[in-house]
């Protein structure tokens, strides 16, 4: 039976038996979370252990559920924009972009050249800081308490300073609009972005020197939490997790949304689909992001950043439905919007990448130790604002 047609693991589990056919011990059910430092938020796992080995694991969601989709149905299109910041609060810029892209597709709005470049710059900076922090968290899950995370946060703060100086907020940027971006960036900002980009490569070298060949990291991550290629495709895994399993599917290359066809960059792929590959794919992706940033900062043209025909007030797109998606730092972030011609969307749906990436959490953890489950969850890269919506 191939992994694609494999049914999900059975719920009925029994303890291991000894040579005489007697159970070796009792199973232990642990409720991990929702308040647990390794669950990256209010996420809970119901784990059944046989000794230290995970024999069953059920994720429990909903602690941060506020029915974001329902809220969006009751307010106008533009009012939803700040709510998208709160989905994945590490990557508000890419959330904004995915939503703006969908509505632009729905209403047929063009985006000025300069705004497209600014969007790419913001998205790649977001990817940089998201992956940096993720690696910090994930190494912390392995027991490197504090230090790597603080280095990661130090670098992230440089990028957040850039966001703050242009949008007024470090994390809740609310920066994109339908048909462009809210405010233009000036030359000082661009020079600063250039400086941050140039210095980032050095930081990555430093970071990698400590981590990539680290003995503990290798021991804890190689051949742990493996997702085979066909299961990854069937389970709709996206983003760095999918590419770590060796599937070449990056929406920046497949859909070529925005102006990504103009940039020269590569899509790093893993081979084994284990945690180490996921770590490595993210590191390499950051280096590719730096390449894109350098090209975008070099080529950015002058001009307006908002389409003059775009309406902020009284925006009522024609009836119809549209599905827009971008390659977010965590995977495919999609928005599905149905308009009935009124100022509010009739239906507004988010495809949250980190929620769907959790589908195979149990498959990854089965047979590993409980301490590995923590690291495996860390490698999925979840943000509960997006998982629970």
């Amino acid at each position: 039976m191939s992994a694609a047609t494999m049914p999900p693991p059975s719920f009925q589990v029994k303890p291991k038996l000894d040579a005489q056919g007697e159970p070796l011990g009792e199973l232990l059910e642990i409720s991990m979370g929702p308040h647990h430092p390794s669950t990256h938020g209010v996420f809970r796992m119901d784990v059944v252990l046989d000794g230290e080995e995970v024999v069953k694991l059920k994720p429990v969601f909903g602690y941060l559920h506020r029915n974001h989709e329902k809220i969006a149905e009751g307010i106008s299109y533009l009012s939803t924009m700040p709510y998208t910041d709160r989905l994945d609060y590490f990557c508000s810029m890419t959330n904004n972009w995915a939503y703006a892209l969908t509505i632009e597709k729905l209403a047929g709005l063009p985006v000025p050249e300069r705004a497209e470049y600014i969007r790419v710059i913001m998205a790649e900076l977001t990817r940089l800081q998201n992956h940096t922090c993720l690696i910090g968290f994930f190494v912390q899950d392995m027991g490197a308490l504090g230090t790597p995370m603080m280095y990661a946060f130090r670098e992230r703060e440089k990028i957040l300073d850039l966001f703050e100086s242009v949008s007024g907020a470090r994390m809740m940027c609310n920066y994109m609009r339908f048909g462009g971006v809210r405010v233009d960036v000036n030359d000082t900002w661009l020079a600063q972005a250039h400086k941050v980009t140039n210095e980032y490569a050095k930081f990555l070298d430093e970071f990698e020197e400590f981590l990539t060949a680290n003995e503990i990291l290798l021991a804890r991550s190689q051949f742990v939490g493996v997702i085979p290629k066909d299961l990854a495709i069937s389970a709709a895994i996206t983003g760095p997790m999918l590419r770590a399993s060796g599937v070449n599917y990056d929406l920046r290359k497949v859909d070529k949304y925005g102006i990504y066809s103009r940039f020269d960059f590569k899509v790093p792929l893993g081979e084994h689909g284990d945690i180490y590959d996921r770590y490595m794919v993210r590191v390499l992706e950051m280096r590719e992001s730096l390449k894109i940033l350098q090209q975008a900062l070099r080529d950015i043209p002058a001009g307006p950043v908002m389409d003059p025909k775009a309406k902020l007030r009284g925006f009522r797109p024609k009836p119809g439905e549209v599905y827009g998606r971008i390659e977010g730092p965590k995977g495919e972030l999609g928005f599905y919007v149905i308009s009935d011609g009124s100022p509010n969307p009739y239906r507004y749906r988010i495809r949250p990448p980190s929620f769907i990436n959790l589908t195979v959490l149990e498959d990854m953890c089965l047979g590993h130790k409980i301490s590995d489950a923590v690291v495996i969850l860390g490698s999925v890269d979840i943000v509960l604002g997006e998982v629970d919506r």
Binding site: P8, A236, P317, K318, Y323, G334, I338, I356, T359, D388
Partner: protein, 218 residues
């Protein structure tokens, strides 16, 4: 990729008993979708996944939509001959839309890098006949999303391995994403209730709610 019409013809050739419609989309940049009847939904989805030309191996997005019963007004331009002169008259046609729940699947192909094919299935009504075939046995990626549709809309997926509430707690009654769902009055604590909330609170708690007034000390 083939057009939807070509796909439809091929499905009908392979499975003659299926009823398939192509749903138009008024948005020019959006995609049209295939509406499949409940009985052959699973077989059509399997065809879309396994067909060598399509290979839609990736089910990206599963969406639930609630369509309550409504009268739809559509304006049609009609040519009428009035006293020997041909005139164009706009006529409003009212059609009754029966209430139903709808589940939309966005299918892509990772291998051939094309898509999406949008697949829709509709339940018979919104009350007691809300069963649809689950597509989780075909695409694992639909597992959590179908649970979410069950949780928030009340669509029962037949063949789903683990159909439980996912975002709401198990004891919760009702389906919060339906259009006619009424929020409870006191779902959110307000220290100084005003306007609509105050009105609702008065209805719910007959005790008079005093508006907050700053105390002025002499």
């Amino acid at each position: 990729m083939e057009t939807l019409e070509q796909i439809k013809v091929r499905i009908e050739k392979a499975m003659p008993q299926t009823k398939i419609d192509i749903l138009p989309n008024e948005c020019p940049a959006g995609d049209r979708s295939l509406v499949v009847d409940t009985a052959s939904g699973f077989a059509v989805a399997k065809f879309l996944r396994d067909d060598a030309q399509l290979k839609l191996d990736y089910c990206s997005n599963v969406t639930g939509i609630d369509w309550p019963q409504a009268t739809i007004k559509t304006k049609v331009k009609k040519k009428v001959v009035v006293e020997g002169v041909e005139k164009e008259v706009e006529e409003t046609i009212e059609t009754l839309r029966s209430g139903h729940l709808e589940v939309v699947y966005h299918l892509y192909s990772m291998e051939l890098k094309h898509g999406p094919v949008v697949l829709r299935m509709r339940t018979e009504n919104r009350a007691d006949k809300t069963t649809l075939p689950s597509l989780t046995p075909l695409w694992r990626g639909a597992e959590l999303q179908e649970r979410e549709v069950f949780d928030l809309y009340g669509v029962v997926f037949e063949g789903h391995p683990d159909l439980r509430r996912i975002l709401m707690w198990d004891e919760f009654v009702g389906f919060p994403m339906r259009r006619d769902y009424v929020c409870p009055d006191d779902f959110e604590y307000e220290p100084t209730p005003h306007d609509k909330v105050l009105e609702q609170a008065r209805k719910h708690y007959p005790v008079e709610v005093k508006p907050a007034v700053a105390e002025v000390k002499p």
